[in-house]
Symmetry: C2
Subunit: 193 residues, 2 copies
DNA sequence: CGTTCAGTTGACTAAGGTCAATTCCCGTGG
DNA sequence: CCACGGGAATTGACCTTAGTCAACTGAACG
């Protein structure tokens, strides 16, 4: 099935799998389409699934007591998405994951994934890697916030995801960088002159 | 043995264990003393252990390419310390953990811990919790850096660890908060008037 | 009793926040 | 197809917060 071509590439980049194993894996996958502003995961819900973005864009965010929203992460084509804390703990999620454009996903339910771990032990590596990547990412992000000026963080983001500025509204990006939209405008201005 | 009193309290707060299990656990523990400025873990080393601080103070930090040091975390009495990424992955640590005052620790080696998981299955919960706590902590820290002003972060730290200012030099705290020592002075000044 | 290093201070500069007004873009409905 | 409405982004004026550099204080310790 052509829809699984991408996940096939992605998985075999992480762990070499046979065609039979891959077929087994693909059987367990559901295709899911999200419209703009539809949710993949909402606060309070238990995240009993892992998603893989075929194409689209999503944001992770949290709503604070005072009502402000904090954008904590993004996901684009070929990214894995999940809330590890909620998923591994079976606890209510404290964050939302929302599509901010038309998005197509592949989804594996957690119980099916656990089952796959048993039937294809090396798939377990995938589960561990998802957790580790998420951890590494946030450690890095943390240090950036601690050490770098807003302008440098902007520059890094620009390098890492040049396409982000075509796909994500700037106020989300500003929010993610921990600055006011105004400041981002300013930074962008003297970045291009 | 009296030296294990604290770990006993701490462990039984997390998971109820019998005296026999506790004895088994304590057998696997080594006592370790660190002088001021001695390392618990250094960059490049594989962290194949978990520590529990009986008393003392340690900092987590990383040295960047340009030579600056970033303090990413602290540990005090009754805290667990480890580098999960290095330990679970068997990969070289990217951070240092250093005692900044005379410190006494209990240490469990990773292989012995794995062995304990088998002999006392509920101890496994401990391993998972260590990972989760570390993750939760850093997620929170990240949001604070994104959303809060330096003054508020200072206030939070003051609430959470009132004793920190007696035990950790201010330049480490400033570094941790992501600000210059000068700024911390300033903040402290108009905090107390 | 000096040496050293943490902490504070002053004067200045730069970075970022706030508020309000304006422009730009895009989709929707007449 | 054009006009309108609404949200996104930028701008200006102004203020606050944080960084830099250098000098100074003060306590700790050999």
């Amino acid at each position: 099935m052509d829809k699984f071509r991408k996940v096939k590439n992605t998985i075999s980049a992480i762990i070499p799998v046979t065609d039979a194993e891959l077929a087994l894996f693909c059987e367990s996958i559901e295709l899911k389409a999200l419209k703009k502003n539809e949710f993949f995961l909402t606060e309070g819900q238990i995240c009993n699934f892992v998603g893989f973005v075929n194409h689209g864009t999503l944001i992770y965010y949290k709503t604070l007591e005072n009502g402000t929203e904090v954008t904590t992460d993004f996901a684009f084509d070929q990214d894995w998405i999940t809330n590890n804390l909620s998923r591994l703990n079976n606890s209510p999620s404290k964050i939302n994951i929302k599509a901010i454009e038309k998005t197509e996903l592949l989804v594996v339910k957690q119980d099916i994934l656990m089952d796959l771990y048993i039937r294809i032990p090396k798939i377990e590596r995938l589960g561990r890697l998802l957790m580790e990547q998420a951890y590494l990412r946030i450690v890095q992000q943390n240090m950036d916030l601690q050490v770098l000026a807003a302008k440098e963080r902007y520059g890094n983001l620009l390098n890492k995801y040049p396409e982000i500025f075509q796909r994500v509204p700037l106020y989300h990006i500003a929010n993610y960088l921990g600055i006011a939209p105004k400041s981002l405008s300013r930074i962008r201005k003297d970045f291009f002159e």
